[in-house]
């Protein structure tokens, strides 16, 4: 036998045995021989189910998501989690009865003492929901009644990369598919001309030289490469390597792609590697994106009042605010998963000066984005999530002075907020102790958040799986509970 053709048989044999094992061998044989031939005519529902499993499992509340990832670990104690006790006990050592042996990073594990420090910023309650918000976030405060705060997030990782990877893939070790890839894999795209998963980055002014991010955070892991996140950039080339080289017209590109596709199909017949088909699909997507991306990235046609709403930063491409406007435009085009990363929330020292700048970067634009979605009627089926990978300590890293302190990483409790997408507005979930250190009521683990978000898309997180190397993987690994209390 031609060894090159053996793989085709292998594939069939394995599938055959698999389906026999499920007890529907006879049918499976038929469907292997002719997948469409068994049924007389497929129904519309069959045609609409393009994904690996029939989805959504139940009626979805959200169709699209904007995840405003605040990279670096925003200090919950200076933004949302108001702890006056820390101001009273300023300078005193963190009691061991609270720390309970919590491991520390190498940056403060050598510290002789852990002086507690409250926030130098003033907190007030806002809206009918009386949510506590610090003076750093005045615009967020204005829309408090649209938001659902979770004050009881907790994670397992204590350093940036594992913690972000945990949020994005459900595992601290890299290599698993990211959240957006799972979503693209399960639910598919709502727009044929744009990727289902788009990522945009911005650097914060609080700590401009903060940790970098790696593209594997929006990688597809073991899922098909069709599902990987596509990074859009500010500037002339929003997507790298997308435009035609000088001297090549769109028509010539078309001819080239057609011929390339024909050759690739030959190869696919020979080798049966599904990645060949993926590659053909990606070329086609890139071709369509040559026009669709230019349209959507051209924010000059936005009226002036939009820029006013998102703030002056929005006028400068590449900023968080400008990315927020882009996110809204992409939502209008029904992009499934849009992830903005804003870097620079890692305030180990000089927290008061740095976080003030950092908060100013995002406050108005985040709030404006939510309200803009609302007035356009998009918020009811778009979920907005705002939050980082972990929180910060209630004690000062380095010297505590009257006006200055720093905070180290803190995985045991931190705050995030959400809006829209069937999440209860004007609501606060969970509580920390008066030291802002441990969760005392309604904890929400990272896997719980992932399960809850999937739930809003009509997906049972235990059923969206992918079999790889003999094991069925899922975003929430072997954990995660949907938190029903925050659903409206």
């Amino acid at each position: 036998m031609d060894p090159l053709h053996e793989h085709l048989l292998n594939k069939n044999r394995r599938h055959f045995l698999q389906k026999m094992g499920l007890g529907i061998g006879g049918l499976a044989l038929g469907s292997l021989l002719d997948p469409m031939g068994l049924k007389n005519s497929p129904t519309a529902a069959d045609l609409l189910q393009t994904g690996p499993v029939p989805l959504p499992h139940f009626a979805p509340k959200a169709k699209r998501i904007i995840y405003l990832f605040q990279s670096g670990g925003p200090s919950q104690l200076d933004l949302f989690d108001y702890k006056p006790k820390l101001n009273e006990m300023r300078g005193q050592d963190l009691p061991e009865s609270i720390r309970k042996g919590q491991r520390l990073t190498g940056m403060t594990s050598g510290q002789k003492n852990f002086p507690l420090t409250g926030s130098v910023f003033n907190f007030k309650q806002y809206g009918e929901s009386r949510a506590w918000i610090s003076e750093l976030m005045p615009y967020t405060a204005k829309i408090a009644d649209e938001l659902c705060f979770v004050k009881s997030m907790h994670t397992e990782a204590i350093n940036h990369d594992p913690a972000i990877t945990f949020f994005q893939t459900g595992s601290q070790q890299s290599g698993r598919p990211s959240f957006g890839s799972w979503m693209s894999y399960g639910l598919g795209s709502l727009n044929d001309n744009l990727p289902a998963f788009i990522v945009m980055l911005s650097r914060g002014s609080g700590r401009p030289n903060g940790q970098p991010l790696y593209s594997r955070l929006w990688g597809n892991g073991f899922l098909s490469s069709l599902h990987q996140g596509v990074q859009f950039r500010a500037g002339k080339d929003p997507v790298l390597y997308l435009k035609n080289p000088d001297g090549i017209s769109r028509k010539e590109r078309r001819q080239m792609l057609d011929y390339l596709a024909a050759m690739n199909e030959e190869q696919e017949k020979l080798f049966g590697d599904p990645e060949v088909a993926n590659r053909i699909a990606q070329y086609e997507m890139a071709y369509r994106m040559q026009t669709s991306v230019t349209d959507v990235m051209n924010i000059e046609d936005e009226p002036d009042h939009v820029f006013q709403m998102y703030g002056p930063e929005a006028l400068t491409p590449g900023t968080f605010a400008a990315n927020c406007i882009l996110a809204r435009r992409l939502i209008e085009k029904d992009v499934r998963f849009i992830q903005l990363y804003h870097m620079g929330w890692d305030q180990h020292d000089n927290l008061p000066t740095q976080i003030a700048k950092q908060a100013k970067d995002v406050d108005q634009a985040s709030a404006a984005l939510i309200m803009d979605l609302k007035q356009r009627g998009l918020l009811e089926d778009t979920l907005v999530v705002w939050g980082g990978e972990f929180g910060r300590t209630n004690y000062s890293q380095g010297t505590l002075t009257d006006t200055n302190y720093g905070r180290d990483h803190h995985p045991r409790s931190f705050s995030i907020f959400m809006a829209g997408g069937g999440i209860k507005p004007g609501f606060t979930y969970g509580e920390t102790d008066e030291f802002g250190y441990n969760v005392v009521k309604d904890p929400m683990h990272v896997h719980d958040l992932q399960a809850t978000i999937l739930n809003q898309f009509g997906v049972d997180h235990t059923k969206l799986t992918y079999k790889y190397q003999g094991r069925r993987f899922r975003l929430t690994d072997v954990a995660g509970n949907v938190i029903h209390s925050i659903l409206s």
Binding site: S41, P42, T43, A44, A45, D46, L47, L48, Q49, P54, L55, P56, H57, F58, A59, P60, E128, S129, R130, Y139, K142, I143, N191, P208, N209, E300, D304, H305, Q308, M309, G311, P312, E313, L315, T316, P317, E332, D334, H348, D349, N350, T353, Q364, A367, A368, M371, K374, Q375, R376, G377, E380, G398, T399, N404, K424, G426, G458, H484, S485, S488
Partner: protein, 670 residues
Amino acid sequence: MWLDYLGKFHPVVLHLPIGALVFTFIIAIVALKDDKPFRSTIKMGLIFSFFGALVSSILGYLLYQAGGYEEAAVQNHMILGWVTTASIAVLWALFEQVSFKKRFFPFFVMNVIVLSVTGHYGGQITHGQQYLALPQEEEKVITINIDSIQLYDQAVAKIFDRKCVSCHNFSKRKGGLALHQPLAILEGGELGLPYTVGNAVKSRIIEYAELPLEDDLHMPPQGRPQLTPSELKVLAYWIDEGANFDGTISFRSFPEEVQQSFAQFLPKKLPDVEPLKASILLRLQKMDFRVSPYTADTPFIQAKFMGESLSSKALNALLDAADQLIELELPNVELPEGFWKEITSFSNLLKLKLDGTNVQDQHLQKLNSLPLQSLNIARTQISPIGVKSLLEHTSLENVYAWNTKIASKEEKLLQEQTQIKLVFGVFEGFSKPQQLKPPQLTTEKTLFDSSLAVDFFSKVKGNIIRYTLDGSDPDSTATIYDQPIEINKSLTLKARSFKSGWLPSDVFSEDYFKVGKRIKKYEMLTRPSNRYSGVHKLFDFEEGTTNFADGNWLGFSGNDLVFTTKISKSERLKNITISCMESIGGWIIYPKRIRILGRAGEGAFTEIGRYDYRPEKIPTETTKKSFTVPISAGEKTELKVIVENVEKLPKWHPAAGEDAWLFVDEILFW
């Protein structure tokens, strides 16, 4: 009053004549063979029936006068009642006159039919229209998790919203009480909490609702929509169970009557429809509809039209999928009148998006017959008239009417008339004039030896940059930037952004420096760290930023920077400027001392300039500083520059005692 009371005996009396008449009828059937033995009995039956019917009709009339029944149903029943009574009288009169078999009996049959119809109408009044409906197949199990019912969120909050919140809310707080959200409820009113936890009977909220309608304390007040018995039951159950705002409870644990009362708060079941045919789907897709499934196990679909104008072909394809269509999006689409003629066909439509379409006011009332929950008419020509025609809609929850012809003062008026959430746009607090960002330069180069072109960039439409070169702050009369600015001497450039509708930016300021000498030859006597190396960077006129890893900086770990370079007298050098940085987190400290030595020819080096740096306070932020050292070069032909590292991190530093870094970038001779 007494007559009203008598009316209540109508149901007692009415069954007597019915029974009598039916019994008489049975005797008449038997009498068909031979009527003689039965004639007196039949006559007797007729007389009894007539008087019974008469009394019953009169009592019925009195009951009708007392009111409280649905007019149409009662009218039919009453007219037929009188007809029955009258026809019994006729029957009685005919009995002696006509042939028993040929005339009397057929008339009797008709009489019994009229009686039955009358009785049916009567039954409908007391038992309701659906009483006689045929038993139907049991409805499918509702697919929500009935084991985790959130009593407050799923029912109690909705009851409050429907019946109480219009007077007890954040802004209107009758009796000091607000019921619009948990925290407000827990604050209570002037009389404290409106309920006693665990005891519904002793809870004011229940007591007041059960008071007679006329009582001043009755809630909701007379004239307002009242709590229904099932709402009251759910409310009482919630209080009895502890009046919790969160936590879940199993539907199965409810007492049966509460289960019944609660049923209305469970999600509505979608109607049964046929699966969509593949051919229709393909047609829709061909017509530029993007179709997606609602859920995998229902036949429902969502469709979005991607074109600009809805053709009649496209509309027809859509109509073929009307039963399955649950969400329809037609953003910015030109809709033909035909669409509005057919709109009522979409009888399962829950969500309709018409933003940016040519929808008119008169179209909207047609939507009242649809089970819509969400309607988007943003960016259309809809006026308050259009929105008004929707306010009574029974299922609508949200209407998005941003950017329509509704003035802001009318928005509030409309919202007050309805429980539907109207969203008109949310610029409040976001629309105040904001300050522009200062202009930005394309290059950060500020040093040059002959001339330098300075270039601003701005991607902001309508943004005007004005600048000065004389050190004054630019105002609206300053020179407008339209081409690169040519700089050929040391000066300060100041610039500002202007744009109508925005506040001018802060002043951007940059010092430009014409350097006398460009160092080309030098000899390094110490080595920088491999990670931050490249000695030429010291003299390349590219200044480093506050990011020590930006590639412009030279870093020395624990050691000094020392180099020599040749000079000539003709250059008339007076100063040397050295840029350094400091970053606590990066273990980078400013130099402790800068020494400039000089010699003529091959002689010994002597100190010709010196700078001792004594920091005023312990540094906290990452900063950049230029140290200028005046020198007396005289006849010297070679200079030796020594930038001294503090060597070990000082006591106040978290890593005190470790090797300190010295970071140096540009070194200028002038």
